[in-house]
Symmetry: C2
Subunit: 388 residues, 2 copies
């Protein structure tokens, strides 16, 4: 059975449906992947994830390496067993988090003058944001850690450059990412996996917002023996105009027969349509659950043209309607906006979970509709009917 199979191509766009086959089950694509950074999709349990229709979830190599550590997870038979989630999992390589540590100065217990991240051609040395302890990721180590964690799909270790880096630095970092990509493949091919199921390795295209570099990176990453091709970088998902440009630049270069993955896409419902239209099969973003915990809840455009409401607004205090009457999620089937408003105003934890269930269901239901529409060559019609 092939790892990836295209089942239908939309006649009017690059959108396509497909199947990704892993030893933990099949993923119908395109699909949005909920993020479970620390081995939990925040506030949700495994039954919640099944109920909302999650086919695959993400976890984070950087966070899991620091806590509870890959060795502990391996001792439990891998992340599926550790967190008791028996469907597919993808781990990112930690590259994005390691580099964003240096940018975001989010670390605790580290004096602000200390350099948090130091990059050389062999790898990256960084300090834990938890306790300031020193760690080092090389491409080989990032693959070994991911082998221990045991996700079905693992990611090459890359250098994620800031968008404001100049062309010369971005090029240097990109070339390093390409060298690291080859080293990740070599390490992966040693078959040192700790688990009795297959793990698949994806490469990551970098090059920030430079057309020449993105095209060069797409060519090189596409030429290597990866199971799937990801597009990474600070802009992806965060800046959708840049994301669309980048996808348009690389769309003809990356091989059609491998899954395409945009890392960090899914801030807004419209984003899902933009990347699917450009042939993307997989994407993930922390935003649906993060904004849910701040009270921002997705709705159809008939309710609000921005496609969200903020449940904390006083207008919802006496509102006896569900968040979105069209939505089939547990929250909308059981609770009013007024009750959710009350839970948020009263700082009740249940509100965070009900909001997270809604936002993820909203996205995954859109993905179900998108897949159906592609199969019937009416993806652009659906896009228009949902986004207006």
């Amino acid at each position: 059975m092939k790892f990836f199979e295209i089942t239908h191509k939309d006649k009017n766009s690059r959108a396509r449906t497909g199947l990704i086959q892993t030893d933990h089950g099949v993923i119908e694509t395109p699909d949005f992947m909920p993020v479970g950074t620390q081995a939990t999709v925040k506030t949700l349990d495994k039954e919640d994830l099944n109920t909302i229709g999650a086919q695959i979830i993400l976890a984070n190599t950087y966070h899991l390496h620091l806590r509870p550590t890959e060795d502990l997870i391996a001792k439990f038979g891998g992340l599926h067993k550790f967190m008791n989630w028996d469907k597919p999992i993808l781990t990112d390589s930690g590259g994005f988090q390691v580099f964003s540590l240096g940018l975001q100065k989010e670390a605790k217990d580290v004096t602000s003058n200390e350099k948090l991240v130091s990059i050389d051609d062999d790898g990256v040395t960084f300090k834990s944001h938890l306790d300031g302890s020193t760690h080092r990721f090389t491409p080989e180590e990032a693959v070994r850690i991911q082998h221990k964690i045991g996700a079905d799909i693992i990611m090459a270790f890359d250098e994620c450059t800031p968008d404001d880096a100049d062309n010369a630095y971005t090029k240097k970092a990109m070339q390093r990412t390409h060298e690291w990509a080859e080293r990740c493949i070599s390490e992966h091919k040693k078959n040192t996996e700790y688990h009795d199921y297959k793990q698949f390795l994806f490469g990551i295209i970098q090059g920030a917002n430079h057309e020449d570099l993105r095209k060069e990176s797409a060519q090189i990453i596409s030429s290597l023996d990866f199971d799937g091709i990801a597009i990474g970088g600070e802009s992806i998902g965060y800046n959708m105009e840049a994301t669309k440009n980048i996808l348009d630049w690389v769309g003809d270069i990356i091989p059609e027969d491998k899954p395409h993955y945009t890392m960090g896409v899914g801030f807004n419902p419209s984003d899902l349509f933009e990347v699917v239209e450009r042939g993307v099969d997989m994407f993930d973003c922390v935003a649906p659950t993060r904004v849910a915990r701040n009270g921002r809840l997705f709705v159809h455009k008939e309710i609000n043209p921005k496609m969200y409401i903020n449940i904390k607004n006083s207008e919802f205090k006496t509102d006896d309607q569900p968040i979105d009457a069209k939505c089939g999620c547990f929250t909308c089937q059981n609770h009013t906006r007024a009750y959710l408003h009350h839970l948020f105003k009263a700082d009740e934890i249940l509100g965070l979970r009900l909001a997270s269930i809604h936002n993820l269901y909203f996205f995954l239901e859109l993905m179900r509709q998108i897949r159906e529409a592609i199969k019937e060559d009416r993806f652009l019609e659906l896009k228009k009917s949902i986004l207006g």
Copy 2:
């Protein structure tokens, strides 16, 4: 159909099983009632409550009066509909919270010199802990608020005195509580209920830790036309030696054919047995969910003689066992101590919910066993086998 019916009396103690009939369903007694202060049992949804076997939950008149207000709840058809819980609900009268405000100085947005609570013979004026606004509860107002909120069982408004108050003050407050009890009954009999189902009114025995006052209070409250008899006070539940003494003093005075309710009992598994043994039918406590959120999880004595573990302790970091292998809750059926330890260390909200599910299930499962044991006249045997 009678409101309360005793179905079996244990041959070897005062323990008894019974049925409480409300328009929202039947409650098998004795039972522990989970507390949902702000119209939510913290971290749990209605399906969780059904799964753990909650027959009735509590809510708090003081908190709901301040937010979202009884008028809003009434507009939604009552608390059952507002929070979408269709089984029985009990509201306390707010007396305990109003008076503990004055004791605990927990209020925010109120300067520390301001007097938070002022009591007179007609009622109590107090400042909101949320915004410092002034409110007044009289017995009539407390009943009217509870009529609007719409719980199946409502409580008389009482003055809850601190245990260190002298006999003279405690007596004065107790007499006020008795006068207020009659006023609550008068107000309740006006049948101004806002809902199309019956609400039942319980009286509260006060008298702190003074035997003479407790007996006097038990006689007077028992002589009034209440549907059930509660035993209130600072010690109840919090100080189990005092609680047992008080129950022994009043046990022969309060009528057998009304439900007996100790307000605030259920810090530890042993407490359930102590009050049931003394003929109590209902009790509630915030402790099982509050301590759960701090990582304290109930276990059988074979695991730890204290009957709890603290999941944050490092000994559980690599522990692949469930919290308690004898427990049938969702958490124990699905997750290891190591995973829970990880969730707590990583400040993940899912940990709080999994812990709350476990502690409440543990209590409610004990209550099921207690009811079965009473019916077979082996309550004391069960007590010995569980507590050792």
